[in-house]
Every structure is written in structure tokens, then in C-alpha cells.
């Protein structure tokens, strides 16, 4: 592999998380790849002016890694700061995927007056195809937001993502959906990305983790004070890193001041090592930036480490503290640090100032042995997850997958339908299998006798298609062409047959790549108003028990006044639709039940992304794609226990009987929406449900299409 790394600032002395990661990736991959080149700017660091060229442009070789520096663009820092202030002032509680924070001009200026380098992008456009993969990090700077577009097929983003306002901006979402691969440094960071950008990112994502350099043991002959502070002589809680509102250090100082007011006799100190804002506390010690050896000495001498930031994708200092056996207090609202803490139990996860005061009290009153035992719980975890060798192996493997090229094979495959109908199960199935085969090198296409106008770009008419020499895979009962193989399906079961004999069972699989679409903003905006969204997907007909769903919702409404029901699907029976509308009117729920009819994929994506509960009371399923898609979107599924639902859900979701007991079913919905424990269990069961992989589906398809296999 030939790899390039693109990052705004690069240097050994840079201490930011993303800067350290860029450094470690470049030098770590050096020995695992054919060559590594770093493309960066001439700017010095995040803390220095972004449009000031400090380093000289040009190429140098640094310890086996090619380093190319380019001049930064001139920008208007005042305009950037103006927009940035607006972004930072946006209330966190209002942050929701799809929400509009900036207008188009502000967005353009935010990216345009960010740190950018047009010469660098020009170079990438000219020479980008010399690399197998180009890693951009982190996600929120102009260089990344503009650069990925230039080398879209090779762009792999290592976003260092955390839950902050920038992650909700449309150019960021577009990048996450459009790049070739995504590398996450923690489970929490990936979970956040999945919730923000949808399950469509899953096929291109890899959780590679991140590593740390083990803190060096300080030499005994070096007891010199660190700017007047002797760690070995004091009892203190340590904060490492930048001090700023984004890092939430104000909360830490506030809590510590209050604790010391409650306990004036305490000798506990709060020590800050790192650059940043002034600290308003008579009990705090501010050391400024420290060397690696000093940092190690401070960590070993501390009673515990405090990490109050919620803007972390992987907290290096947390891992370093655990590596030397110190417990850590992290912010319970930060998924990326709360996850590992929950796993190890090596510390505390306060969420507000009262909790933090309690943590200071716990640290102050604990014995050194108790604190060492607490911190020691995570040492094994750190040794396995934060080991650079393991991380780099995972990274190299993920890059190989992301850039794997598949040369088109000669043997074409055509998927034949009688009729290609919009949002129809058979059509969706044919399209997703065709896409899967096409992504894996086959010349695959879908053709049909009759094509819905809305599918004109995806399906061709049989008479217009080139079928010469193609393997013909017919869907269900299609007799349009002589079929080499036939795919039959029903009740969540898919069989490939040849000459009437079953040759393979195709694992049930929903292509999440098909959901890598931008949710329709107009549909999404009203659905993120804080109300409960209940989604029922399926044709409006008696077999799908839509009337019973409306009746249950009428009872549900009495339990949850802030609820709405979305009925999505084609009308198969106009009389039945009239009865549904009458029922809605009779119960006075016209404003809370929406009969949406058929909707586009972006509109459905908006509904999936905002639904709190997925209800399906269908008696029959053709393919079960809707259930699989709801599961993929982490929506609790409540389905009628029909044979198809039983087969598809297996041991996950919730299956119900006796639809006449509408009040109890409504109460069940309420529990699934409102009870966090039940909800978490149901979602967890759905995530753990054994699911097919693209590889297993492809293997089954190949088995059944011998000529394609030979090709």
C-alpha cells in the first residue's frame, strides 16, 4: 500500500490529540506500507495563526517519511471567528441531526475561511492517484472538508469525532457519506457517527482504536520541582491538556472551588498541566506546558486524573493515567470516555457539578491503596486496546479493505423482473443484489418488462438492455427471459433454484450502503421537534392491520400526549384506506396521524432516523427488508408474531399476539419508548441478532450462478 496522510498541522512537538494521531499513523504505517507521505501546511500549530506560514514549503524526508508542506491560503480570521462564535453559542440541547445551524453563506465562509491550502489540494488533484489511500484527519478543518472531494475514491477520513456542533454541519455529513472509508478511534466515536450520519456509513467504517506511548518512568535522580511544584510532596488531582470552554475546565474549577469551601481544611490541590485559559481558583496550581518526562512524573504522583471534557473521541490522557494505575474521573456525558470507564470501572463518571464535588470528596477521603486498586482495574484494558502495534495492524487491515479494487469480470449478470415498481420488495431486492455484485466486480444490472418512471435511472427495459452472454437471474415468477437461476422469496426466506431445484439459501440481508443518503431536510425538520415518532411501514391493507395500529395509537396518545404516528406505504385497498381515515377522524387524531403514502428514500431515511418505535403488524412479509432496516437504524421493533416476523426477528425485538388488546399494546409501546432499560435491552438484542454479511450473501449468489463463479 502507498499511503498519504493529510492534516493541517504536523510536527513532533505538537500535543493535540489529532496531531499526535497523525504523527503516530505516519511513522507507524511507514514499516507496514510501501511508502508514507504526509501532506500538511506551513502553519505552525492549532494555537498559532492559521494563515501564517512559519515552515518553509517543500518536501523533506523525516526518518523515512516524506513530508510535503504547502503554503496556507489567505483567509479572513475575523469572519471565521464570527461564525465560529455563533456555532459555539448554539445550545447543545438543540443539536439534532439535520438541524439547520448556519445559512449557506455562513457555511461557505466557515469552510472557506478555515485553514486551507489550495496548492496542497491542487497537488492532490494532480498526483492523488499515486496513492492507494489518502487519510484525512481530523474532520472539522477546511483542508479535510475540501480535500476529500478532490480524491473522493481514495479519501479515508479519520475524523476524531465527538459530539460537538461542527459534527452537525451539512458539509461534514456530506463528507461522511461520500468518502471511501472511515476510521474511528473508539466505539463511542463510531456510535456517535452512526447516530448522526445513519447506518449507511457502516459498510465503509472500521473501529481501529488509538494507542498511547507508555509514560516513561521518571528517574529517581530527578526530584527537581516542576516550576516550583514537587509532585511527590503534594496530594492533588491532575488535569492534563488544553484549558478552554470546549474542554469544560470551567466546570472542574467550579466544582473544586465549591468542594474546598465545604472542606476548607483539606490539602487537596487541583493541578493543571497544559496551555490555555487562566484558572480562577486559589487552590489550583497551573504549571503550563510540561515535557513528557514531567507529565509522567505528574501522572504518577497524582491521586487521580480529571478529564471533564465531553469533546473527546479518544482520551489519550485517560489511557495514560490508567497505564500508570491512576483512577480517572471523566465526564459521564462523553460517550467516548464513558464507554471504556463503564467497561473497566476504573474511576468515576460525574455529569454535573454536584457529582464532581462528590468525586473530589471520594478522592480526598480514599487511601492511596484504594485509589491504586481502582486505577489498576484498567491496566489490562489499556495494554490490549491502546497498544500501538495492535492499532496499526487494525489500521493497515482497514485501509487494505477500503482501497481494495475489483477489476470488472467479463461475465455479466442480469436480474430480471416482470415489473420494476417503486418501493416494491422484489425490486428493492434485485437492486441491492445487483449493487452488491457490481461492487464486487461483476457487470450486473437490473432489467424489467415494465419500469416505473421513478426507477428509470436504475432499471432498464428488457428490450433496451444488452443481454448477450449474461447469466440471467429471474425474480420470483418472472418468465420474461429464459432464466439460468431463479430467486424465490417469502416470509423472510430466500431460495435460489436452478431447473426447479433449490441450490442455495440466500442469507437475509439489507444493504446499509443503500441508506447512505442525505435525509430529506423538509421531512426531518418537523420530526425533531421533541415529539415521539412511531413509524409503521407497509401497504395500507387489511393484512397489515393498519386499523388496529391506529386504534392502539389512540390509546397510546392518552399515555403520551406528545406523540405522532406515521403510516408509510402504498394503498393496496382504497376502501380500507377510507376506513383508516374514518378511524383517525373518529378518534380526533387527524393532527397526529399522518398517512404518508409512498415516500422517497431520502424521506424514509428522515423517518427512520427520527423514529422512536417501529411497529409492524403485517401477517406476511415478502423479503422483510423493512424490519432489517429498522433494526439497522437502532429503532425498537414491535411486530405481530407472524411466521415471517418470527423468522426475521428470531430472538430479537418484541413479538406480540392478540391485536384486539389495544390498551395493553399501547402501554407496551409506551414502555418501549419511555423505559430506558427495556428499550436498551430490545435494541441490544436487535444489534446482536445474527445477521448476514455482504461476503456471505455474495458467496451464496456465486454458488448458485456457476458461470459467474467461473468468471
Amino acid at each position: 500500500l502507498k499511503i498519504a496522510v493529510v492534516t493541517p498541522w504536523f510536527g513532533e512537538g505538537l500535543t493535540g490529540g489529532a496531531e499526535r494521531l497523525a504523527w503516530e499513523i505516519a511513522f507507524g504505517l511507514r514499516d507496514r506500507c510501501e511508502g508514507v507521505t504526509v501532506f500538511t501546511t506551513c502553519a505552525r500549530s492549532f494555537a498559532d495563526p492559521w494563515n501564517e506560514n512559519v515552515h518553509s514549503p517543500g518536501e523533506t524526508l523525516v526518518d523515512g517519511v516524506r513530508l510535503s508542506r504547502f503554503l496556507v491560503d489567505r483567509s479572513n480570521p475575523r469572519r471565521f471567528q464570527e461564525i465560529n462564535r455563533k456555532l459555539l453559542a448554539f445550545p447543545r440541547s438543540r443539536l439534532k441531526p439535520g438541524i439547520s445551524i448556519l445559512n449557506d453563506i455562513e457555511l461557505r465562509d466557515f469552510v472557506g475561511h478555515n485553514i486551507n491550502s489550495t496548492p496542497l489540494l491542487t497537488h492532490l488533484a494532480r498526483r492523488g492517484d499515486e496513492y492507494d489511500a489518502i487519510i484525512f484527519l481530523p474532520y472539522l478543518y477546511g483542508l479535510t472538508l475540501r480535500g476529500w472531494r478532490v480524491v473522493r475514491e481514495r479519501a479515508v477520513i479519520a475524523p476524531c469525532l465527538h459530539d460537538e456542533v461542527y459534527a452537525y454541519l451539512p458539509p461534514v455529513a456530506e463528507m461522511m457519506r461520500g468518502c471511501a472509508g472511515l476510521l474511528f478511534n473508539s466505539n463511542g466515536s463510531y456510535a456517535l457517527a452512526r447516530s448522526l450520519y445513519g447506518p449507511g456509513i457502516e459498510p465503509r467504517s472500521a473501529i481501529v482504536g488509538s494507542g498511547i506511548t507508555w509514560p516513561t518512568a521518571p528517574t529517581l535522580e530527578d526530584p527537581k520541582p516542576i516550576r516550583g511544584f514537587v509532585p511527590e510532596d503534594r496530594r492533588y488531582v491532575l488535569h492534563l491538556g488544553r484549558r478552554s470552554p470546549e474542554k469544560n475546565t470551567g466546570l472542574l474549577v467550579d466544582a473544586f472551588n465549591r468542594y474546598r469551601e465545604i472542606e476548607p481544611e483539606s490539602d487537596l490541590a487541583l493541578v493543571f498541566a497544559g496551555a490555555g485559559d487562566a484558572v480562577q481558583s486559589p487552590h489550583a496550581v497551573v504549571l503550563g506546558e510540561v515535557s513528557e518526562v514531567q507529565k509522567s512524573r505528574l501522572l504518577r504522583g497524582a491521586l487521580a486524573l480529571a478529564q471533564p471534557s465531553v469533546n473527546e473521541s479518544f482520551s489519550r490522557v485517560m489511557m495514560e493515567a490508567w497505564a500508570v494505575g491512576r483512577p480517572v474521573a471523566i465526564n459521564g456525558n462523553c460517550p467516548s470516555t464513558a464507554g471504556p470507564l463503564r467497561e473497566t470501572g476504573a474511576g468515576w463518571a460525574p455529569v454535573d457539578v454536584v457529582d464532581w464535588i462528590a468525586v473530589f470528596s471520594a478522592i480526598d477521603s480514599a487511601s492511596p491503596g484504594e485509589l491504586a486498586a481502582l486505577g489498576g482495574r484498567a491496566q489490562e484494558y489499556v495494554a490490549t486496546t491502546a497498544n500501538w502495534e495492535n492499532v496499526l495492524d487494525r489500521l493497515a487491515s482497514a485501509l487494505t479493505t477500503a482501497v481494495a479494487t475489483n477489476q470488472p469480470r467479463a461475465q455479466p449478470i442480469v436480474h430480471v423482473l416482470d415489473r420494476a415498481v417503486y418501493a416494491d420488495s422484489a425490486t428493492l431486492l434485485a437492486l441491492q443484489y445487483s449493487d452488491l455484485l457490481a461492487r464486487n466486480g461483476f457487470a450486473s444490472s437490473v432489467i424489467a418488462g415494465d419500469v416505473d418512471d421513478r426507477l428509470g435511472s436504475q432499471v432498464r427495459r428488457i428490450e433496451d438492455a444488452d443481454k448477450e452472454g449474461a447469466v440471467v437471474l429471474a425474480y420470483d415468477n418472472s418468465q420474461q427471459l429464459k432464466a439460468d437461476a431463479r430467486l424465490t422469496f417469502g416470509e423472510g426466506s430466500l431460495e435460489l433454484t436452478r431447473s426447479g431445484k433449490s441450490v442455495a439459501s440466500i442469507p437475509l440481508w439489507a444493504d446499509l450502503g443503500a441508506w447512505n443518503v442525505e435525509p430529506n431536510a423538509e421531512v426531518m425538520a418537523p420530526l425533531v421537534d421533541g415529539r415521539t415518532n412511531i413509524l409503521a411501514l407497509g401497504a395500507i391493507c387489511a393484512q397489515n392491520h393498519v386499523l388496529e395500529i391506529v386504534e392502539a395509537f389512540a390509546f397510546y396518545f392518552a399515555l403520551d400526549f406528545d406523540a405522532r404516528l406515521l403510516l408509510v406505504g402504498a394503498t393496496e385497498d382504497a376502501d380500507y384506506l377510507t376506513r383508516v381515515r374514518d378511524a383517525i377522524e373518529r378518534t380526533g387524531l387527524e393532527h397526529r396521524v399522518t398517512v404518508c403514502g409512498e415516500v422517497s428514500r431520502p424521506a424514509l431515511a428522515a423517518m427512520y432516523r427520527t423514529a422512536h418505535l417501529f411497529v409492524s403488524w403485517r401477517e406476511h412479509y415478502e423479503t422483510g427488508l423493512a424490519l432489517l432496516e429498522a433494526i439497522a437504524h437502532d429503532i425498537p421493533v414491535c411486530a405481530l408474531a407472524s411466521p415471517g416476523a418470527q423468522r426475521i426477528l428470531g430472538t430479537s425485538g418484541i413479538l406480540v399476539r392478540e391485536l384486539s388488546r389495544a390498551r395493553e399494546l399501547a402501554a407496551l409501546w409506551r414502555v418501549l419508548v419511555n423505559d430506558p432499560v427495556t428499550r436498551a435491552r430490545v435494541i441490544h438484542s436487535q444489534r446482536c441478532r445474527p445477521s448476514a454479511t455482504p461476503e456471505s450473501v455474495l458467496a451464496a449468489l456465486r454458488k448458485a450462478l456457476p458461470r459467474a463463479h467461473e468468471a
Binding site: A558, L559, A641, Q646, L649, G650, T651, S652, G653, I654, L655, V656, R657, E658, R661, R663, E664, L665, A667, L668, R670, V671, D675, T678, R681, V682, H684, S685
Partner: protein
Amino acid sequence: VIERNNPLVDVDELMAKIHQQLASQNSPANGSTLEDGRLASDATTLAAGIENSLAAAESFAQVRTTLGSTSRVLSSSLLRSFLLRALAFIFRDQRNVDNALIDALRKTLHLNVRLSEECEFLKSRVAALEGPRSEGPPKSAN
């Protein structure tokens, strides 16, 4: 009602939660503001408070006819008159906006009061409809 297909979900525990939900819905003390008439009393108190605030805002949104303490330093009545007219002219648009907003808020307030009264009425109807049912199933004619 619920299948035991999901080993992570204890159906008995789930049924208990469902019955708890239903019981809280039926209970007169379920914490809902609709149940104990608190909405009506809260609405009356709040409406009075909001009406007071609107009246205060309205009085300040009128054209100034005096200059208050400033007038003591302005000896000339001509100057005072000019200043008042200038203020009236400068803040003419603002006054229109203020008055429109006050009017809109007052209409919203009246609508809310009516809605809360409707809620009370519907609540009493629901209670009347549910009353006999909670006493048990109807007795057989035999």
C-alpha cells in the same frame, strides 16, 4: 400478549411495567396535571400574571407625554416638547411592533385559557365515560 422470543427481555417484568402504565393512567393521582385540575388552576394563575405583564408592557409602549426626571434639567418647555416629539417619531416603528406583539400575545393567552377550559370539560367527560367501566363488567341479563 407478548411472545417469549427475546431472552434479553423478561416478559413477566415487561407485563408488570405495562400494568403499571395502565394503572397510572387510571389512577386519579398519576401525577398528570390533567387529572387533579391543576392545569385549570395553574392556567388561571398564570393567565392573571401574563395579563399583568402585558398591561405593563402596553403602558410603556404608548407615546411618551412626559420626560420624567430628565425634564428637571430642561428648562425650556419648547425643548421638552421637541424632545417628546422626536422620541415619538424615532420610536414609531418600534411602538407598532410592540403593540402588534402585545396584541398577538393577548390573543394567544385567551386561546390558551379557552383550551385549558376545554381540557377540563373533556377530562370530566372521559371520567364520566370511564366511571361505570371501572366498576366491573356489565351484569348478565339473566
